[in-house]
């Protein structure tokens, strides 16, 4: 990874020197090995940039604010992150002319929560060795297979293609697992309505409405969320019924339907480990099945199926079904 980081820094440096951008949006080291933070670097500080198994944060969302500032910012985007930026560009949420997007290769990011669940306690450092992650901890060394620690989104990696970047950095990395991302959704579809309801109540009742999922989401780019607006009549600072946090999530899922790129940030950051990606993937699966394969962010010219009316559109509706019966 050090070698790849050096390659990224070297290219970033060239780009800064050539005037293609004035600063770099990347990841800065944290106080542990697993907590890098998004950071902006001048040329002189590029040596501080980190890129390793834990630099999972999708920097696209930060481009909204960064691109409003003066000068051009060079942003580092993993393949999946690039779709988020492309979608934001499509929605006119970022000033694209203030961004230089450099696609950087990725071999899957690690999930500290999974490591902890697998018994990694008191972790002090990590290193990667032949498909294994080795943790030095307060209680000795723990070795785990890398694949066991991948973030959910990386287990279903959509590949090494980028959307809408200005340049990509070539670097050979091992292949990633390619699990079917709709497997769990399909399993939920098989359940009875009651079972599904119980599943989602169990998950969503853990929600503490911290809004981390919303605030990290590149598709949630409203300046003022309707749920924060006292004038909206639906501001929800507290739940008036037990079901209300479910409503928040259902409405949010609808709002990002057709725009969510499945970047996985919501599930990654949720402090209560709610598998929010399943809601979004249900919408993606339905859109794919009803209107044909569609990947948000992939094609700047494509008309998003949910805002594109054609007379041939299917009429999927439980109400309609019942009406027919």
């Amino acid at each position: 990874m050090r070698e790849l980081t050096n390659a990224i820094c070297a290219r970033a440096k060239e780009l800064l020197q050539s005037g293609a951008a004035g600063r770099v949006l990347g990841w800065a080291p944290g106080e542990f090995f697993y907590d890098p933070t998004p950071g902006v670097f001048s040329e002189g500080r590029l040596n501080e940039l980190v890129y390793d198994g834990f630099t999972a944060a999708n920097l696209s969302k930060y481009c909204i604010a960064e691109s409003q500032k003066e000068g051009k910012v060079l942003v580092l985007l993993k393949p999946c992150d690039s779709y988020s930026l492309a979608q934001l560009v499509k929605e006119h949420r970022v000033k694209r002319e203030n961004i230089y997007a450099l696609g950087i290769p990725c071999e899957g990011k690690l999930d500290m929560r999974k490591a902890r669940a697998k018994g990694v306690e008191g972790a002090l450092s990590f290193r990667e060795e032949d498909g294994q992650v080795v943790f030095e901890t307060l209680y000795g060394e723990v070795r785990l297979a890398r694949e066991e620690l991948l973030l959910e989104r990386c287990l279903c990696c959509r590949g090494r293609e980028y959307a809408g970047v200005d340049e990509t950095l070539e670097y050979a990395l091992p292949e990633l697992p390619k699990r079917d991302r709709f497997q769990k959704v399909a399993a939920l579809e098989e359940q009875t309505a009651q079972e599904r309801y119980a599943f989602w109540r169990g998950e969503l009742s853990k929600c503490i409405r911290c809004n981390a999922c919303r605030n990290v989401c590149p598709a949630c780019s409203c300046v003022q969320c309707v749920f924060d607006n006292p004038q909206s009549g639906v501001a929800a600072k507290a739940n008036s019924t037990e079901f209300e946090e479910s409503l928040f999530h259902i409405i949010r899922a609808w709002h990002v339907a057709g725009r969510c790129t499945d970047c996985g940030e919501c599930s990654r950051v949720c402090p209560q480990s709610i598998p929010l990606h399943l809601l979004n993937r249900k919408f993606i699966k339905d859109v794919n099945e009803l209107y044909g394969e569609y990947q948000a962010g992939a094609d700047p010219a494509a008309r998003p199926p949910l805002v594109n009316y054609t007379p041939e559109d299917p009429e999927p509706s439980a109400v309609l079904e019942r009406g027919r019966a």
């Binding site: 907590d35 503490i208 911290c210 600072k237 480990s273």
Partner: protein
């Protein structure tokens, strides 16, 4: 006071027996997250070996939202109905030293004049049992605040130690004694096993990366203005998402909002957790006093490290539990902030 021990294999029986003292709240896993939940709920698994629950015990005394009063309108009549205070006793079992200190932090806010009777009624009805830590995590830094996790001290009724084979208990109040008397499995015990566990845990504590985090710049005697104007805030807060993950996970964050909900037939007044990280925090008719995320971010950390200690005889209102370390989506946590402010500012 004396020390008692019971067979660890009989913990289930203990929880049942504690039911005689009220509802029993234990560190519990449920649906892939953990919190202090009532014993015996379906689909939940009580587990005293959990180091820290995702959610702190704060919720039991200061719930995320609660009703305060209802106004009912009938014609020109307004009927007022105050929400009930806590009436049933309950047992909160397994509070770690950091979270226990957090209750002390909350007490000083809610039990100071004017006393918050909602909070007070819950505190009065609780029997709190602290539990020593045997295996601290790397993110723990309670020791930097002078907390000894091997021997929890604070507003509790008994202290417990969980070893391989036994649960030890030392009552420190009369309420604590009732725990021993309500379960026949307790027998007087000697200190040996507890002392051995404490010694082993202390050896680990000595190796915590931030166990000795330098806090000398903060606290009662700190230079408030220098910290307020510190150049590091700009960069520290630049990528804060303004969510409430840190605040809502924190065992000591105590800010709330009071709002009226129009029920159509009257008004329901409730209070709910608020976060200084939110842009509508302390919104008033003229606007909000903290207009940028930098100002909001600074508030959260200076409240814990400077303002609270200055008002409370030096007691910090961070207890070093490390939840913000694990929960912040952007990894902007207390350790990062304290280090950045404590040392020389980084070169631009």
């Amino acid at each position: 006071m004396s020390l008692y021990a019971m067979d660890r294999a009989r913990l289930g029986e203990l929880y049942e027996a504690l039911g005689a003292l009220g509802r029993v709240y234990l560190p519990t896993r449920k649906n892939g997250a953990s919190a202090f939940l009532p014993y015996g709920e379906e689909g939940s698994e009580a587990d005293l070996s959990l180091l820290l629950c995702d959610k702190s015990p704060k919720d039991l005394f200061f719930p995320q939202s609660e009703e305060l009063v209802k106004f009912r309108l009938t014609g020109a009549e307004i009927a007022l109905q105050e929400a009930a205070r806590q009436k049933e006793p309950f047992v909160l079992f397994g509070v770690k030293a950091c979270d226990l200190q957090a209750i002390e932090v909350l007490d000083r806010v809610f039990l100071a004049e004017p006393v918050d009777s909602f909070y007070q009624s819950r505190r009065e009805h609780a029997t709190v049992v602290a539990l020593a830590c045997a295996r601290p995590a790397e993110s723990c830094f309670c020791t930097a605040f002078g907390i000894d996790p091997t021997s929890p001290q604070g507003p509790c009724d008994a202290v417990a130690w969980l070893t391989e084979s036994a649960l030890y208990l030392r009552p420190c109040t009369e309420k604590g004694e009732t725990i021993v008397s309500c379960f026949a499995g307790f027998a007087p015990a000697d200190e040996k096993e507890v002392a051995a566990q404490q010694a082993a845990a202390r050896a680990v504590l000595g190796r915590l990366p931030y166990g000795q985090l330098d806090l000398s710049r903060f606290g009662e005697a700190s230079d408030e203005l220098a910290l307020f104007d510190h150049p590091a805030w700009e960069e520290l807060s630049a990528h804060c998402l303004g969510c409430g993950s840190c605040t809502f996970s924190c065992p000591t964050c105590q800010c709330y909002d009071i709002r009226d909900y129009d029920t159509g037939k009257g008004v329901l007044r409730f209070r709910c957790w608020d976060s200084c990280m939110y842009k509508d925090f302390t919104m008033m008719a003229h606007g909000t006093p903290r207009k940028t995320q930098k100002e909001r971010f600074r508030q959260r950390f200076l409240h814990k490290l400077v303002y609270y200690p200055k008002n409370n005889g030096g007691l910090f209102s961070c207890v070093g539990c490390g939840r913000c370390v694990k929960k912040c989506p952007a990894n902007l946590h207390m350790i990062r902030v304290a280090k950045a402010l404590g040392g020389e500012p980084r070169a631009q």
